[in-house]
């Protein structure tokens, strides 16, 4: 019985979300797209985090996807929709090559190298003038779907649904056992047949593919990109804050965090034009120090306490 009611709730929410374009104007659809993009990035960041590896390279892979898609259309004459798939695969391949090298060493080496990715890709795009448009970036001849707001919204939603689906799969399949075992105790994972390198590589490639896909959707929806916009540090900062606030090591946590912070972000931008991003930095600090399991973790604790209290009442 319990299972059914939560499924019904999810189905209802899905229908409402799908129907947004029916009753929301272009501005709100824009905000929704922004929230969904960050949500997908937050979820994909969390997927790798479940293995214990922290990536600071979301902006790098996201921007790489943007450029791959834009340049596939501009230099390769690819169809915009196909370019999104191309960009996702490209980001995945790049992650494979990179991960092959850097996943052999863990924790700080991996994390700091991913932090550098954003800078490195930005410099590469900046320097390859003829190919990538240099510092001015590139403009696409046409925005995908001719800029039709509902279509852009559903495109972004599709990307988000794919991401949620993959994350959910990670939670239900043996990836969950592998990544959790690696995170909790690598040595004993090895003694139980887990090929750590293989599973980390899979997680890194899959999450990078998703991040590249969102970057491609972004560039196709806006019609232009440049080194500073594609590799904007916000694409790392906000998803991290969202996943941490909502509750890491889950799909729902980052989703909740994204909704909360995504909406708050729109409001904040108007209040504090310069440096509103400090809120996200502070949230990260506060969550790590006082609430490492996020809101979801706190909710779980309260439910457990409630259950115990209920039990002792008998």
């Amino acid at each position: 019985m319990k299972l059914k009611s939560s499924y019904i709730a999810v189905a209802l929410a899905a229908v409402v979300v799908l129907a947004f374009p029916a009753f929301l104007g272009a501005y709100y659809l824009n905000v929704a797209r922004s929230v969904m993009t960050y949500m997908a990035l937050a979820i994909s960041w969390d997927m790798l985090l479940r293995s214990g590896q922290i990536s600071f390279g979301i902006a790098g892979l996201f921007g790489l996807g943007s450029y791959a898609s834009a340049l596939a259309v501009l230099r390769g004459g690819m169809d915009p929709f196909a370019s999104i798939i191309f960009a996702a695969v490209f980001a995945g391949l790049m992650a494979f090559a990179l991960g092959f090298v850097i996943l052999r060493l863990r924790s700080m080496y991996f994390s700091i190298t991913t932090l550098a990715l954003m800078e490195i890709f930005r410099i590469v795009m900046h320097n390859l003038h003829d190919f990538s448009g240099g510092p001015e970036g590139v403009v696409l001849p046409v925005v995908i779907f001719n800029g039709d707001a509902p279509a852009l919204y559903w495109l972004c939603l599709a990307g988000l649904i794919i991401t949620i689906g993959v994350s959910w799969y990670f939670e239900k399949s043996k990836m969950h056992l592998a990544l959790t075992a690696i995170r909790n105790d690598e040595t004993s994972a090895r003694s139980n047949g887990v090929d750590i390198f293989k599973y980390l590589l899979i997680a890194f490639v899959v999450t990078s593919t998703l991040q590249g896909m969102m970057g491609a959707i972004q560039v196709q929806s806006y019609g232009f990109t440049a080194p500073e916009t594609a590799f904007d540090a916000n694409f790392t900062l906000l998803p991290l804050a969202m996943a941490l606030l909502g509750g890491i090591h889950s799909t729902i946590g980052p989703m909740a965090g994204a909704i909360l912070l995504g909406i708050a972000s729109e409001w904040l931008k108007l209040q504090i034009p310069y440096g509103h991003l400090i809120v996200y930095g502070v949230i990260i600090i506060l969550v790590i120090l006082f609430m490492p399991q996020g809101l979801l973790g706190m909710a779980r604790k309260m439910i457990r306490a409630g259950r115990k209290a209920g039990a002792t009442h008998e």
């Binding site: 056992l177 959790t180 909790n184 105790d185 004993s188 047949g193 887990v194 090929d195 090591h249």
Partner: protein, 239 residues
């Protein structure tokens, strides 16, 4: 039939020789005791045969195949399993999931099959309420879970590293009976590292003694416990 053999196995840690030219073998169906004073290199030796550490020199052979530099997870898949002295349960997985890991990754079982195998193993070890968090287990249950985790790999060779530590005499008796039973039923070769000589005497068919990384004696418990060099190594003799 010899299952596991090491020849002149050595491990150096920049200057310190932890395991020194150890040559030994384990036969199918035997329970081998591995004893020696603290710091003798027993756990390092198990790390070497299970693949957690790579040797500095020497060879390791398993069922005729050279596995000297095979990674740990490959050795699990081949049939070598072990428990850890300092048990670290996977705290974000339930008890049953802890046990399932070996079945899924060493035996390539589906989640459903792995769950069935894991449940069977836990039933055999009398470990119940498998949906619990590992934080709620008693010491005896943690030990049982640790053994269950190793058994889920369906090993042919199993190493138990001080699995009796911290148990009272009743619990120890339980585990001894369990080890004897699983070794016999599964026809495994079992290596048991222990400090309590009573356990070694009751459980093992044969004993090897390590001191400062070297193999100094080999034989039945009776033979070995009378060996003067062994007695000296323990400074006061065995129980």
């Amino acid at each position: 039939m010899s299952k596991l053999t090491t020849t002149d196995l050595t491990k150096r840690f920049s200057g310190l020789v932890a395991v020194n030219d150890v040559t030994f073998n384990m036969e199918e169906g035997e329970i081998l005791g591995i004893i020696g004073p603290n710091g003798a290199g027993k756990t390092t030796f198990i790390h070497l045969v299970s693949g957690i550490l790579m040797p500095s020199s020497g060879t390791i052979t398993f069922k005729g195949k050279d596995i000297t530099y095979a990674p740990a997870h490959v050795r699990s898949r081949m049939g070598i399993a072990r428990t850890y002295q300092l048990i670290h349960p996977l705290e974000n997985l339930k008890v049953i999931e802890n046990v399932m890991v070996g079945a899924v990754f060493s035996k390539d079982k589906s989640l459903k099959e792995a769950r069935k195998s894991a449940e069977a193993i836990c039933a055999e070890l009398e470990l119940g309420r498998l949906e619990r968090d590992t934080a709620q287990l008693s010491i005896l249950e943690i030990k049982k879970m640790e053994i269950a985790r190793a058994l889920a790999n369906e090993p042919e060779v199993l190493f138990l590293d001080e699995v009796m530590a911290g148990l009272n005499s009743d619990e120890t008796k339980q585990i001894i009976a369990t080890v004897q039973r699983i070794a016999k039923e599964r026809k495994m070769a079992v290596g048991v590292v222990e400090h309590v000589m009573g356990v070694i005497r009751e459980l093992t068919h044969r004993v090897i003694v390590l001191e400062a990384g070297e193999l100094i004696a080999e034989g039945t418990y009776e033979t070995v416990s009378k060996n003067p060099r062994v007695v000296e190594a323990y400074l006061g003799g065995a129980a």
